[in-house]
C-alpha cells in the first residue's frame, strides 16, 4: 500500500528554509540591478548537445507552430540569450529545466536552474559576482580558490590537458581507474577521456573547504563560450565545484553567429555518428546572434544543489517538494 506516496518528500523545516533561500536569491539580484524574467519551458528548438536527452511533447493545434516536435527545455539559456539580444539588460531567472535519463542523489529529471546574464561583463567580472553570490547564499567561508583547467590537471595528475597525447591520457585512465574497455577506450575523444579523469580523480579532491572555480577550459570544450582573445587554446568558460558537487557552469558568451553554427554542426555530426536522434540547430538563436549582441557573460547555477549544500542534504529529494518518484 503506497500510503506515504501522496506526501511530499521534503520535511517542513527544509521547506521553510528553501523558501527563505529563494527570497535571498531575489534580494541579491534586485540589489545588483538584474531584471527577473520568465522564458518558456516548451520550445521548438532543443539543444544539439550529444549528452543531453530532452523530453518531447506535442501541441495539438497547427497555427504557426510546428507541432511535429516540441521539447521541454534542458536550460533557459537560448531564450535568455535571445532576450538579451533584444533588450540588452542584465537578466536573471529561477527556471525549472528538464533532462531525461538523469536521476540520482544529485539529479532529478525536473530540476531548478538559476541563470543570469549581464551585458558588458567579462568572464572575470562574472566570476567575482558568482563568488559574491555564493558567499551571500552560504554565509561566509574561506576565500574561493581559482585555478585554470590546465593547472588543476598539472597539480593533481601531472599532465597538461592542452598538449598531452591521447595515448598517454588513455593510459592514465586505465592505470589509475581500472575501468574496463567498455568505459575507457581509444575510440573515445580526448575530451571524453579528460572528462573521466576530471570526474573520478580530480573532482573528489577539490573544493572541499570552500568552492573552487576552474576556468579556461580547453577551446574544444568551449560549448557556448567565447574563445580567449589572447590564447586561442582556451575558452572563456568556468565551472564551480564545492564538496564534490558541480555547482555552476558559466562563461563569456559566444556572440559570433558563424562560430556558433560551426559548433552546432559539430554536435550534429557527433549525434549522427552515435545514432542519436537528429536535433536541428536553433536557427532563432543564430538569428539573434546575427542581429548583434554586446559582449556579455552568463552563468547557470544548480539551485537545488546549492540548497542541498546550504541545508546539509545528502539527496536532492530532501530539498524538493516532490521528486520524480512522487511527482
Amino acid at each position: 500500500m503506497n500510503e506515504k506516496k501522496w506526501q511530499p518528500n521534503i520535511n517542513i523545516q527544509n521547506l521553510l528554509k528553501r523558501s527563505a533561500l529563494l527570497k535571498k536569491v531575489r534580494v541579491f539580484f534586485e540589489n545588483h540591478g538584474y531584471l527577473e524574467v520568465e522564458t518558456p519551458y516548451i520550445t521548438m528548438n532543443t539543444t544539439t548537445d550529444p549528452y543531453l536527452v530532452p523530453f518531447r511533447t506535442n501541441f495539438s493545434y497547427d497555427e504557426g507552430v510546428n507541432n511535429s516536435s516540441l521539447y521541454l527545455i534542458t536550460s533557459p539559456e537560448f531564450h535568455m540569450k535571445r532576450l538579451i539580444a533584444a533588450i540588452k539588460l542584465p537578466i536573471f531567472q529561477i527556471s525549472h529545466s528538464f533532462r531525461d535519463q538523469e536521476k540520482g542523489n544529485l539529479h532529478n529529471p525536473e530540476f531548478t536552474l538559476l541563470e543570469w546574464y549581464r551585458p558588458n561583463f567579462s568572464m572575470k567580472d562574472l566570476i567575482s559576482e558568482v563568488e559574491k553570490f555564493l558567499r551571500y547564499m552560504l554565509s561566509t567561508f574561506e576565500p574561493t580558490e581559482k585555478v585554470t583547467y590546465q593547472d588543476v590537471f598539472k597539480k593533481h595528475l601531472n599532465i597538461d590537458p592542452l598538449t598531452e597525447k591521447k595515448e598517454n591520457i588513455y593510459g592514465l585512465c586505465k592505470k589509475r581507474l581500472g575501468l574496463d574497455n567498455a568505459i575507457v577506450n581509444m575510440k573515445q575523444s580526448i575530451n571524453e577521456l579528460l572528462e573521466i579523469l576530471f570526474t573520478f580523480l580530480i573532482m573528489p579532491k577539490i573544493g572541499e573547504k570552500s568552492p573552487i572555480i576552474v576556468y579556461h577550459f580547453p577551446a574544444s570544450m568551449a560549448q557556448l563560450a567565447a574563445i580567449n582573445s589572447q590564447n586561442s587554446q582556451v575558452a572563456e568558460r568556468f565551472e564551480v565545484y564545492y564538496k564534490g558537487i558541480e555547482l555552476a557552469n558559466g562563461c563569456k558568451e559566444l556572440t559570433c553567429k558563424k562560430e556558433q553554427k560551426k559548433r552546432f554542426l559539430k554536435d550534429i555530426k557527433i549525434r549522427m555518428s552515435r545514432n542519436l536522434p537528429y536535433h536541428p540547430m536553433d536557427t532563432r538563436l543564430l538569428d539573434a546572434l546575427e542581429n548583434g549582441l554586446p559582449d556579455f557573460s552568463g552563468v547557470a547555477v544548480g539551485l537545488d544543489r546549492l540548497i542541498m549544500i546550504a541545508l546539509n542534504a545528502k539527496h536532492i529529494k530532501e530539498i524538493m517538494t516532490f521528486s520524480i518518484e512522487r511527482a
Binding site: D49, Y51, L52, Q101, E102, K103, G104, N105, L106, H107, L177, L179, A182, I183, E192, E195, F198, T199, F200, M203, Q223, E239, E246, N249
Partner: protein, 189 residues
C-alpha cells in the same frame, strides 16, 4: 533472465557480473556537467562475501541474478549430501563441501537461513542461538582455572562450560562466537 539497465539499479538488487551473482550495496549516478553518465556501485560478491567497486556506463545493462533468500529445514545427510526441505515440502540437496564450516550447526528439524542462486544453496546461516545437549562430560580441567571445563556437544563441537553442568543437559550456545550462553531448563510438557 531479465535484464536491468544500470540507471535502474537500486540497493539490494542482485545482478550477474562475470557469470557470478553480486548484491548491490551502494549505488551512485554520476554525470559531470554535460558529459557522459556513469553509475558507480559497491557490490558484495555472494559466493565469497568480498566487496568490490564497479563503474558502469549509464547505458550498460546486466542480467538479474536468480538469488532468493529463504528458510529451509535440515533433514539428514549421507556421505555426499545434506538434505533440506522448504515450506512447500520440496527437497533440496547440497554438496557437503559447499556448506563448509557451518555444517557443525546442522541439527535435524532446525530452520536455517539460506541464500539460493538458481536453486542451489550458496550460503547458509545457522540461527544465532541454538539449544544443544552435552553428550560427553570429559572433565578436562582448563589449566589452573577450575570454574570451567570442556565438554563435547551432541553435534561434536567442543565448548567451554561452567563446572556445574552435567552430561545430558541442554545449553544455549551462540553459534557465531561458539560460546556458552546459558543453561536451558527442561520444560515439563
Amino acid at each position: 533472465m531479465p535484464i536491468y539497465s544500470s540507471n535502474n539499479f537500486r540497493v539490494g538488487l542482485k545482478i550477474i557480473v562475470k557469470e557470478e551473482p553480486y548484491a548491490i550495496e551502494e549505488n551512485e549516478f554520476v554525470k559531470p556537467g554535460k558529459g557522459q553518465a556513469f553509475v558507480r556501485v559497491k557490490l558484495r560478491r555472494l559466493l565469497t562475501g568480498t566487496r568490490v567497486e564497479k563503474t558502469f556506463r549509464s547505458t550498460d545493462s546486466v542480467k538479474i541474478a536468480d538469488v532468493v533468500e529463504t528458510t529451509l529445514v535440515y533433514l539428514y545427510c549421507d556421505d555426499r549430501f545434506f538434505y533440506f526441505i522448504n515450506k512447500s515440502f520440496d527437497q533440496l540437496s547440497t554438496d557437503k563441501f559447499l556448506i563448509g564450516n557451518c555444517a557443525k550447526w546442522l541439527v535435524s528439524q532446525e530452520n536455517y537461513s539460506v541464500t539460493l542462486w538458481e536453486g542451489k544453496i550458496i550460503s547458509l546461516t545457522p540461527p544465532k542461538f541454538m539449544h544443544l545437549k552435552i553428550s560427553n562430560n570429559s572433565e578436562i580441567e582448563n589449566g589452573l582455572q577450575t570454574k570451567n571445563k570442556l565438554v563435547i556437544l551432541s553435534n561434536g563441537v567442543t565448548i567451554k562450560v561452567p563446572l556445574f553442568l552435567r552430561e545430558g543437559e541442554v545449553i544455549k550456545v551462540d553459534t557465531k562466537s561458539e560460546k556458552y550462553v546459558s543453561r536451558v531448563k527442561a520444560k515439563i510438557r
